[in-house]
Structures are given as structure tokens and as C-alpha cells.
């Protein structure tokens, strides 16, 4: 299974974190620091896989963002790479040509999409259409903050 997914910028700024197993804040912070330093120090044309402790770290850079996924040792690296790519495709579909700012300003949406795609460290839905449909219908239920702001409170 997958252990965690991190998105960070080239400057090492965290943009999204998803922990599939519960972990204390201290552990999380340490892992984030390790990951960013390890991945960012990689040469541009080196391979996408790293070994870290008993995990395999699969990372891929899309524009200014690094997607970094930790999987257990017996998992398939290429499948993990494909998971990252599928997530990017989903983001792209939702935001329409996604960029880092989309994820910064709508970070909760990025989480919602991820939650429809992966769950508990496993792939939940491989179909892009189904994931998109679920997100759309959940969004229909959710009134936007703006709507709320313009509504009288009584």
C-alpha cells in the first residue's frame, strides 16, 4: 500500500500532504523535511525512484511541483508512477490546465479529488470519468463560501 503523498514546490514549500497511516506531528515534520531535501537534491536527469528506510519513494516533477509518493517495499514502482500521473490528470481535468496556484488556493479541492482516487493507501477508483462524476456531484451539494457570504444569516 501507499504510505503518504506529498506535493511540494521547488523551494521546498509543502503544497499538499496526505498520510494514509496515522502519524504524529513530529514524525510527519521529520518525513517532510527528509523528503524535500532528498528529492530536491536529485539531479534533473536521474531516475524517479529512491529507497528510504523500508519504503520506496517515487517522485515526479510536473512544472514547478514535485509529487512524491511513498510505497511499501513490495509494491510496483511503475504503478506508483502511474498513480501520480493519474492524479495529475485528474487535477488537470478538474482545474483545466492545472498550475501550482490552483492547488495553493483550492487546496481543499485537491484533497477532495485525491480522496476520490485513493483511499487508505489503496487505489479506490481507476476510472477518471467516475472520479470526476463523484467530485462534480459532491460539489453540487456544497454551496460555495461566496454563496454563504451573500446569504442572510437569519
Amino acid at each position: 500500500m501507499m504510505r503518504f503523498l506529498l506535493l511540494f514546490s521547488r523551494q521546498g514549500k509543502l503544497r499538499l500532504q496526505k498520510w494514509f497511516t496515522p502519524m504524529s506531528e513530529r514524525e510527519k515534520k521529520k518525513i517532510i523535511r527528509d523528503m524535500t531535501t532528498m528529492v530536491l537534491s536529485r539531479q534533473p536527469r536521474s531516475c524517479n525512484f529512491l529507497h528510504w528506510k523500508d519504503l520506496k519513494i517515487i517522485y515526479k516533477r510536473y512544472a514547478s511541483l514535485y509529487f512524491c509518493l511513498a510505497i511499501e517495499n513490495q509494491e510496483n514502482e511503475l504503478l506508483a508512477l502511474e498513480v501520480i500521473h493519474r492524479y495529475v490528470e485528474l487535477l488537470d481535468k478538474y482545474f483545466g490546465n492545472v498550475c501550482e496556484l490552483d492547488i495553493i488556493f483550492n487546496f481543499e479541492k485537491a484533497y477532495f479529488i485525491l480522496d476520490e482516487f485513493l483511499m487508505g493507501g489503496e487505489i479506490q477508483e481507476t476510472s477518471k470519468q467516475i472520479v470526476n462524476r463523484c467530485i462534480e456531484s459532491s460539489d453540487m451539494l456544497q454551496e460555495t463560501m461566496e454563496e454563504y457570504m451573500s446569504k442572510p444569516a437569519f
Binding site: 481507476t126 454563504y148 457570504m149
Partner: protein
């Protein structure tokens, strides 16, 4: 109270939402910490309000801050509050915050149990969804225990959306609360066959994880997984299942076979992709791929065949084909057998028979293939036989012997007319026996075989060839018989012809009839003369004198159009359109189609004509066979009918006189071994000659591709034919190495030069001793003083050739020719290295030591030695000075000869074919820099000009349109060089592009030089 509410709503206007917070943080880069602490204060205020919306907004901001690394654990209770909101909008945010912030030691989690249970049973699937998602992140043993039952119920929810989430979270529950596994497992197993693919893959994922922890409990599921694996189209799931099998196989080895299937196919597919870029690495798995040919699955077999095609080499061709032949014998079903047959032929004939070292072997393979029952590729075998027999001169005697046996046994091939696909072979056999009849051992016997009455049952086009070639044979037989004193034998032969030919004169086939009656009359006339004791054989033979030579498909283009001939002009007035449409192109081996003679109405009015034309066009459009070379509507019917017939499996080895192809494999092995042994001997000698400490590192390991010298060579008619002025076709011997272009510079002894011409094709008009400097010339600085040892005057020719494998290596082949009459020995070759180019010397020798030339030169003998140079930069031409020292044996004097090696930039270019689309892409890429050159006063036809550039500068023509052509070449270091050559009158302009401007400049200079000398 009312006032408070109003105030709250006004306040809210000024609340920061998440976007404001993010923007604010980005605007306060310098004092981020301070800004955030004020924000946190604000958030704390917001959390104190009763309004759930305000709280949710605050929690949302907190989640963001948590990501930035700030501690938000103090707000855990507020998060629970937001989670419990009845509105999905807030609930969603609440669960998100919880999943990000909660962990097992968060104590408020205990408070959530009831809320979560309520959400799980919510009528809204998305409420349930967020609850499950959140739970998956922060599930504790307590929660797992309390909620296990609820989640288990959800696994059978009506909505697949819920089912898949429930299945996935079950794994987390199992981990935290293992007791739940036993009751939940049957349901989980059920989900493997869920109608929804999402649920199915979720179940696969969970079971894979479980199986990995404890494989032996899940062995019983293997059949179910196997079913999934063969039926599922979802690659994600397939990979998981293969992984699962990986975990199970240590316990149940039989499983390997099942998943090997899928993996095998994928593996072969991947290999074929790799093969294109890294052929060497795939070749080492040859045996594995050959094994795949035994696979039950036809798609795997076909994949393996495709792979084999790409991986044959000189070394393994025989072995691979031998294996394939075994498979042909075993193969069931004509389709697969036919596929094998075409593949064998494809493999052998690819790139001009590049990999065939022994053509006798190939001919016998072809002959063996004729034993195949019911194949429809008889014409393929036939065309191969013809091609090989015509182009490989050395093989003709052997081929003729084989073909004669085939003709003798023709009744076996044609025994059943139903399978006449194979009788096409007789077409080739008859032609080869006739054309090369001088090689026949017993022409009389073959002649009789060709005139058997049974022949009349063969298809018309084959009979026609039989008749024509019987005549050729007749001529040969006459010739041999007339030499004898007994003239009756010759007369008997004529009588045989006269007896048998009438059968063909009656043939329904016009072609056969015409040829037969023509030849019959001829023979009758000959007989008359024979009775008068006139020696006639010479004249009869003259009928068929002269050899038919192969011509390159494009050779016609090279022939200049004679002046005053307009090829576009009509010779006769064009026939009316309707007539010309009737004619369809006919291939050599096309099936005869009964031509229904169409009654021609001469008086039809225009309208009627137009109507008919329309109808015909319609018909043609609907006829899928119309554009094909062989009108095969008839064929299709025939194959259908023969499919229903059950043939016995291949009839084997009924030919007695034919050698088995297998023996060649053995012979070839022996031949190579001998060659290797000889080579080793030579090497040993060489080593002995060398002084100690100069051991060369010739590896005597496995022979490399280059080491295998072919037993026969194919004459290859290349397309790039430099300076062909008439129909003279030049043959290039293609050696096992690269194509070599030799060029020489003559300074002395014109008569000897002529002798050499037979060996090296010389493409210069070398009038007046003007020498050109295209590829490189040896410039002997001081021609040896004639008085002193003119006898040892020497002559060298050299050729510089880049090494494709290594971008920095250049091989210089030098031909030493001893033109004097003294024995030369102890030759040493030395070059003064420059910074850029260095002669590669064996380890341990100094930078100025010479290299021993590994042979001695008796008078009048020439030999070739190769020297490797390492070159750093190839963008500039270079001249290296060198000396050759040698000892003249008779006088035991040391002699010295200075020379210069000219490394032109062209010698770093390697002729590389390029397709026009790739060429266009290259030009579009914009990476190339341009340059151009104009040549004035070039007085030669355009195609000569192109040929000259191709030949001297190693370019290949990409496309040619009228007086404009694009050309391409590549340097050994991978630079692309593109040319656009245009001509108008005597001016030629060359626009060129290359990724290395200096290299380009130099190449253009060299081209200019080439043309300035002509």
C-alpha cells in the same frame, strides 16, 4: 439578541476566507510568522462564534495552516463540531480537517464514534463517503471495533460508490481490529465478483494486501484470481494480481504457469520495443523467445515470431531457422503454418540477405518448404528461389541440381491439384533449370521431366515457362550430343520434342499455345537439318545466348533521356478511357483469370457510354480486389473450399536426392570453427612477431558479428550508382563489414593500375593523373628517389571510416601494395599524433612508437591493414603526418616513406538513410543551423551530381523532385547534416543545415572542392 445576529452577519463580511488567508501569507513574505499569528488569533475569535459557517471557514483555514507546519491540535474539538454539521458543505471540511490533523492519540476521537455511525447510515451517499474517507485516515482500534459491523453492512450497499469505499476501509479495520476479519471475509471474497469494476479492484487490492501478510490462507482464492486475471481488462488490477501471484507462488509453484502467460505476452511486447533501440540486450534472450514458439497461445507465438525477425544475426540465423522449420512441421492449422513460412522467408531475405552466410543452406531450406501442404505462399518461395539463383552466381550449380530434383518429383507437389499453391515453385524450378542449364548434370533427364504429359495439368503461366525452358534445355542437350560421333542421339532428342510438344500446342492457354507451336516449328526445322547432317547446336544455342542480369528497381531513372525524346508525348493517340480502365496490372505470379471476351458494340452513343462508365466505376469501387495486383476474387473462393478439406499433417522427406538443410548448420559451424582457428593461428603468429611487452589485446572470446565471413556473397545492385552513363550496372561487393569505398591515388606505373581496377571499382575519371581528395589521399611528401630502390616503390590506398559504435573512433584501412620486386618486411606504421587525433596504440607502448604492420609483402602483393584513431572533435578536417619504415629484404636496408593522412570532415559522415517525414521533422525542429554554397559551372546531369555527393560525401537522397533534391547524412557523433540541392543551368546551389555549423562549413567546402575538380 437581534442586534447580535445582525452584527454577526456584518462581521462576517470582514472575515477572511481561505483565499484571503493564502493571499495574505503570500503578501507577507518577510513577516510571515507575525502575520500568521494574527490570523490564528482571528481564527480563535471566529471559532468562538455560534455560527457553524464561520466555524467551518475557520477550520478550513486551520487545515491550511496545519500544512504549513503550525500546531492546530488545540482546535480538535472545533473540528468535531464542524464534522457534526448537518450540512454537507461543512461536514466535508470538518472531515478533511480531521483526516489531516487527527492521530491515534487525539482524545476527542472517542467523541466522534456516534457521529460517524450516524453519517455512515446517512441517506446521502456523499455524507457516507466523506465519513468513510475521513475514517480511513484516523481509524483507531476503538473506532474499528465499534464501527466494524456498520462498515460490513455498507459493503453490501446498493451504491457502488459506497461499496468500494467500504471494502477499502475494511483493510484498515482488519489491521486495527483483527477479530473482524473472520466474519467479514466471505463478504469480501464476494466482492471480487462484484459487477462494478471499481468495487472489484478495491477487493483485489485489499486481498492482495492481506495475502502479502499471510499468503497461505489465501491460496484457495487462486482460481478466482486466475479467472479475474484472464477476464479483466484493467491494467491496474492486472498488475496487482500478478503481484499477488508473486506472493503466492512460493507456496504453490503451479501458479507460475498461469501468470507467466500474461507476463509473457507483455514481456514479448516490451522486448520488441526494446529491440528497436538495444538489439544486443534482447539477443541474449534468444532461447527464451524460441521457447515461446512452443506456447499454446497463438498470440504469444506470433509475438515471438515478430521478435525473432528483428534479432537474427549472421551467427544465429541458421539456428533460428532450424527451430522454425521444426515448428513448421509441428504446426497445426494452415494459417499459422503460412505465417511461419512467410516469417522464415522474411527473416532470411531481410536487408538483401544480409544475414545469410551460406546460400546452399538457404536453397535447401526453400526446397524443404515446398513440402508444406496446402500453403498459399508457393509464389513467395518461387520468387526467393529465382532471386537467389540469379543474384548469387556461385550458387547456381547447386540451385540447378536442386531444381532438377524438384522437377523430377513434380508429381509429388502437384499430386493433388487442390493444393496447387505450392506448384508455383515449379515456375521457378523450370526457369532456373532452363536458364542455367549449363550447370545441369543430366539435362536430358530434366528435359524429359519437363515434357511429361502431367505438366499439362499445371496452371497456364507455369506451363508457358515449362515450354520456353524446355527449348533452352533442348539447346543445351543438342550441344552436348553433337560433340559425340553418334548423331542419332541428337536426332532422338529432337524427336522427343516433336512428340511431346503437340500436347502444349493444344493448350487452352494462349501463351502456352503460342510458345509451343513456335518451338515445335523450330524443332521440326532443326530435325530436317539434322537429317542432312548439318551441325546446328551452335546456332540453336545462340537463340538463348547472353545472361540476364538483375537490374535495380530504380536503375531506369539513372538512364539519361536521349535528346529529342519526349517521354510524355503519346506514341499512339490515347485509347478511349473506357478501354484503358479494363486493364489491370498483372503480377508475375498472378492467378490466371478467365478473360471473358466482351462483345464490343461499335455503335453506342455518348450517353450510353457515359452511363456504362459510371456503372463500372461503381462496381470497381465496391470491389475490394480491384486495386490489387492479383485479381484474387477467384483465389478467395478457392481457399474457402480448401479449408474444409482435412489434410494429413505434413508429408515428410519423400525427396531422396535433396540434402537436408540441417547438415548445413553443421557444415557452417565447422567452417566457422576452421576460420576461427586460422585466425587464431594468424594472431599467434602476429604475437610472436611482436616484441615482448607489446601484447595486443585481441580477445579470442566469442566471435563477433564482423568475424563471420559469408560463404557466398550476394551481388547487390545499389541505388546510389555513381557515374553510370549508360545501362552499365555496377555491382558492389557487399562485404561483411561496412561498405567500403576505395579510392586511390596513382603516382606511378599506369599499367599496374589497370590490373587493380578489377578489384576496386574506381569511380573517377582519372585522366591525366589528376587526383581528388574526397575521402582521403595519401600524399607522399617525397616520392622515393628513383635511383635508389625503385624496386621498393610502394603504393598505398586508404579509406577512412568512422566507427558507428564509438563516436570518437575512426578506422583507417590502408592498402599496401608492393610494386617493386623486392621482398618487404618489418613494416612499421607511425603517425605523429595531434592533440585532436591519436593513433590507438597497444597498452604499454609509448606515444611515439610505431605500429607493426602485421604482414610482410612479397613483390607484387597487396594487403590491407587497419588502424584505429581516436578523434576528439570531428568538426574540423585534419592532416596527420606519418612515416612508414620497412626493410628491403634483399639488401637488408631500412627504408622510409613519408605520407600524410587527410582526415576530411566527410570521412566522419556515415551514409544513413532517412525518410522524408523524419527529415521534415528534423528541419522543423529548429535545432539546426543553416549555411549555403553555390557551385558555378557544374556541367553534369543532375543525377550524376547527386550520385557524386552520395558517393564521395556519404549522403543519401531523401527525396528528389525534378531539379531539386534533399539529402541527408549523419556524423559518427550523431550530428545531422541535411542538404537541399537545386540546380539551374550550370549553377548548383546547396542549402545546408546541421547542428554543428563548423562541421557543416567544412563539409560544404569539401563538396565544393569535389566539384571544382571535375
Amino acid at each position: 439578541m437581534a442586534l447580535k445576529i445582525v452584527k454577526g452577519s456584518i462581521d462576517r463580511m470582514f472575515d477572511k476566507n481561505l483565499q484571503d488567508l493564502v493571499r495574505g501569507i503570500r503578501n507577507h513574505k518577510e513577516d510571515e510568522a507575525k502575520y500568521i499569528s494574527t490570523c490564528i488569533d482571528e481564527i480563535k475569535q471566529e471559532l468562538k462564534q455560534d455560527n457553524i459557517a464561520v466555524k467551518a471557514n475557520a477550520v478550513c483555514k486551520l487545515t491550511y495552516l496545519q500544512m504549513l507546519g503550525y500546531d492546530v491540535s488545540w482546535a480538535a474539538f472545533n473540528i468535531v463540531e464542524v464534522m457534526s454539521s448537518s450540512k454537507f458543505t461543512y461536514k466535508r471540511i470538518g472531515y478533511l480537517a480531521a483526516s489531516q490533523c487527527f492521530h491515534e492519540s487525539t482524545d476527542v476521537i472517542m467523541l466522534t464514534t456516534n457521529q460517524i455511525r450516524k453519517d455512515l447510515s446517512s441517506p446521502n451517499q456523499y455524507d457516507t463517503g466523506v465519513a468513510l474517507t475521513g475514517l480511513s485516515c484516523f481509524v483507531t482500534p476503538d473506532l474499528a471495533r465499534d464501527l466494524a459491523n456498520d462498515i460490513m453492512t455498507l459493503m453490501s450497499h446498493t451504491k457502488p460508490y459506497i461499496r468500494k469505499k467500504a471494502v477499502l476501509i475494511m483493510y484498515k479495520v482488519f489491521l486495527k481490529y483483527p477479530e473482524s476479519l473472520r466474519p467479514a471475509f466471505p463478504r469480501l471474497k464476494e466482492k471480487l465478483e462484484d459487477p462494478d469494476p471499481g468495487v472489484q479492484s478495491a477487493a483485489v487490492n485489499v486481498i492482495c494486501e492481506l495475502a502479502r501478510r499471510n499468503p497461505k490462507n489465501y491460496l484457495s482464492l487462486a482460481p478466482l484470481f486466475f479467472k479475474l486475471m484472464t477476464s479483466s481488462t484493467n491494467n491496474w488490477v492486472l498488475i496487482k494480481i500478478i503481484k499477488l501471484f508473486g506472493a503466492l507462488t512460493p507456496l504453490e509453484p503451479r501458479l507460475v504457469y498461469s501468470c507467466v502467460h500474461v507476463v509473457k505476452y507483455l514481456g514479448l511486447l516490451a522486448m520488441s520495443k526494446i529491440l528497436k533501440t538495444h538489439p544486443k540486450s534482447v539477443q541474449s534472450h534468444k532461447d527464451l523467445i524460441l521457447q515461446c514458439l512452443d506456447d499454446k497461445d497463438e498470440s504469444i507465438r506470433l509475438r515471438a515470431l515478430d521478435l525473432l525477425y528483428g534479432m537474427v544475426s549472421k551467427k544465429n540465423l541458421m539456428e533460428i531457422v532450424k527451430k522454425l522449420m521444426l515448428h513448421v512441421d509441428k504446426a497445426e492449422g494452415t494459417t499459422y503454418r503460412d505465417e511461419l513460412l512467410t516469417k522464415i522467408i522474411d527473416i532470411c531475405s531481410q536487408s538483401n540477405y544480409q544475414y545469410i552466410t551460406n546460400f546452399e543452406w538457404y536453397i535447401s531450406i526453400l526446397v524443404e518448404l515446398t513440402r508444406l501442404e496446402g500453403t498459399r505462399h508457393g509464389h513467395l518461395i518461387a520468387s526467393q528461389m529465382l532471386d537467389v539463383a540469379i543474384r548469387v552466381k556461385a550458387i547456381r550449380a547447386f540451385a540447378v541440381a536442386q531444381m532438377a530434383t524438384l522437377l523430377d518429383n513434380a508429381h509429388l507437389l502437384t499430386g493433388n491439384m487442390q493444393r496447387n499453391g505450392i506448384c508455383e515453385v515449379l515456375y521457378a524450378a523450370a526457369w532456373i533449370c532452363g536458364e542455367f542449364s549449363e550447370h545441369l548434370e543430366n539435362p536430358m533427364q530434366t528435359l524429359e521431366a519437363m515434357l511429361r504429359p502431367k505438366v499439362a495439368t499445371l496452371p497456364g503461366h507455369i506451363q508457358a515457362v515449362y515450354v520456353q525452358n524446355a527449348a533452352k534445355l533442348f539447346a543445351t542437350v543438342l550441344k552436348s550430343q553433337e560433340g559425340n560421333t553418334d548423331s542419332t542421339a541428337a536426332q532422338e532428342t529432337s524427336q522427343l520434342m516433336i512428340d511431346r510438344l503437340p500436347l502444349f500446342v493444344q493448350s487452352a492457354n494462349l501463351e502456352v499455345q503460342e510458345r509451343a507451336s513456335c518451338i515445335l516449328q523450330l524443332v521440326k526445322y532443326i530435325q530436317k537439318l539434322q537429317q542432312k547432317d548439318v551441325e546446328i547446336a551452335e546456332e540453336v544455342n545462340a537463340l538463348f545466348a547472353g545472361e540476364l542480369n538483375p537490374v535495380a528497381p530504380k536503375a531506369q531513372k539513372k538512364v539519361p533521356v536521349p535528346e529529342g525524346l519526349d517521354l510524355d508525348a503519346w506514341i499512339n493517340e490515347p485509347p478511349s478511357e473506357s478501354e484503358s480502365e479494363d486493364e489491370q496490372p498483372k503480377a508475375i505470379f498472378a492467378k490466371e483469370e478467365p478473360k471473358h471476351s466482351r462483345p464490343r458494340h461499335t455503335e453506342v452513343d455518348e450517353k450510353e457510354l457515359a452511363r456504362r462508365r459510371e456503372a463500372r466505376k461503381q462496381e470497381q469501387a465496391n470491389n475490394p480486389f480491384y486495386i490489387k495486383a492479383s485479381p484474387s476474387s477467384q483465389k478467395a473462393v478457392y481457399y474457402k473450399s480448401h479449408k474444409h478439406k482435412i489434410f494429413p499433417p505434413c508429408v515428410l522427406s519423400f525427396f531422396t536426392g535433396l540434402p537436408m538443410s540441417d547438415q548445413y548448420v553443421k557444415l557452417e559451424e565447422e567452417r566457422r570453427q576452421k576460420e576461427r582457428a586460422e585466425k587464431k593461428k594468424k594472431e599467434k603468429k602476429k604475437r610472436k612477431e611482436k616484441r615482448s611487452g607489446r601484447g595486443k589485446k585481441h580477445d579470442s572470446g566469442p566471435e563477433s558479428e564482423e568475424d563471420i565471413t559469408p560463404a557466398h556473397q550476394v551481388d547487390i545492385v545499389t541505388e546510389e550508382m555513381p557515374e553510370v552513363n549508360s545501362l552499365d550496372i555496377l555491382y558492389f561487393k557487399k562485404s561483411s563489414k561496412h561498405k567500403k569505398k576505395k579510392q586511390k591515388k596513382e603516382k606511378e606505373e599506369k599499367e599496374k593500375k589497370k590490373k587493380k581496377k578489377h578489384h576496386h571499382h574506381h569511380h573517377h575519371s582519372d585522366g591525366g593523373g589528376e587526383e581528388s581528395v574526397q575521402n582521403g589521399t595519401v600524399e607522399e611528401e617525397e616520392p622515393l628517389p628513383v635511383s635508389v630502390y625503385q624496386s621498393s616503390a610502394r603504393h598505398s590506398v586508404y579509406d577512412i571510416q568512422g566507427n558507428l559504435q564509438d563516436g570518437s573512433q575512426v578506422v583507417v584501412s590502408v592498402i599496401f601494395e608492393n610494386k617493386g620486386d623486392s621482398f618487404l618486411k618489418s613494416m612499421e606504421f607511425n603517425v605523429l599524433d595531434s592533440l585532436n587525433s591519436k593513433l590507438q596504440r597497444p597498452d604499454g607502448s609509448g606515444p611515439h612508437d610505431g605500429l607493426t604492420v602485421p604482414f610482410q609483402l612479397p613483390p607484387g602483393v597487396s594487403n590491407e591493414a587497419r588502424f584505429v584513431f581516436t578523434v576528439q572533435s570531428i568538426i574540423m578536417p585534419q592532416k596527420l603526418k606519418g612515416t612508414l619504415t620497412f626493410i628491403v629484404k634483399d639488401s637488408s636496408t631500412h627504408e622510409k616513406l613519408d605520407f600524410k593522412l587527410h582526415f576530411t570532415c566527410t570521412s566522419y559522415l556515415i551514409t544513413t538513410p532517412c525518410y522524408s517525414d523524419a527529415f521534415a521533422k528534423l528541419l522543423e525542429s529548429g535545432d539546426l543551423k543553416g549555411s549555403s554554397v553555390r557551385l558555378e559551372g557544374v556541367n553534369m546531369p543532375f543525377h550524376h551530381l547527386l550520385a557524386r555527393i552520395c558517393f564521395h560525401h556519404h549522403f543519401s537522397v531523401v527525396e528528389r523532385i525534378d531539379s531539386c533534391a534533399s539529402m541527408y547524412s549523419r556524423s559518427i557523433q550523431g550530428h545531422h547534416v541535411c542538404l537541399l540541392v537545386k540546380t539551374s543551368g550550370q549553377t548548383v546551389s546547396i542549402d545546408a543545415k546541421c547542428d554543428e555549423p563548423t562541421l557543416l562549413g567544412n563539409v560544404l567546402d569539401e563538396i565544393k572542392q569535389t566539384f571544382s575538380q571535375c
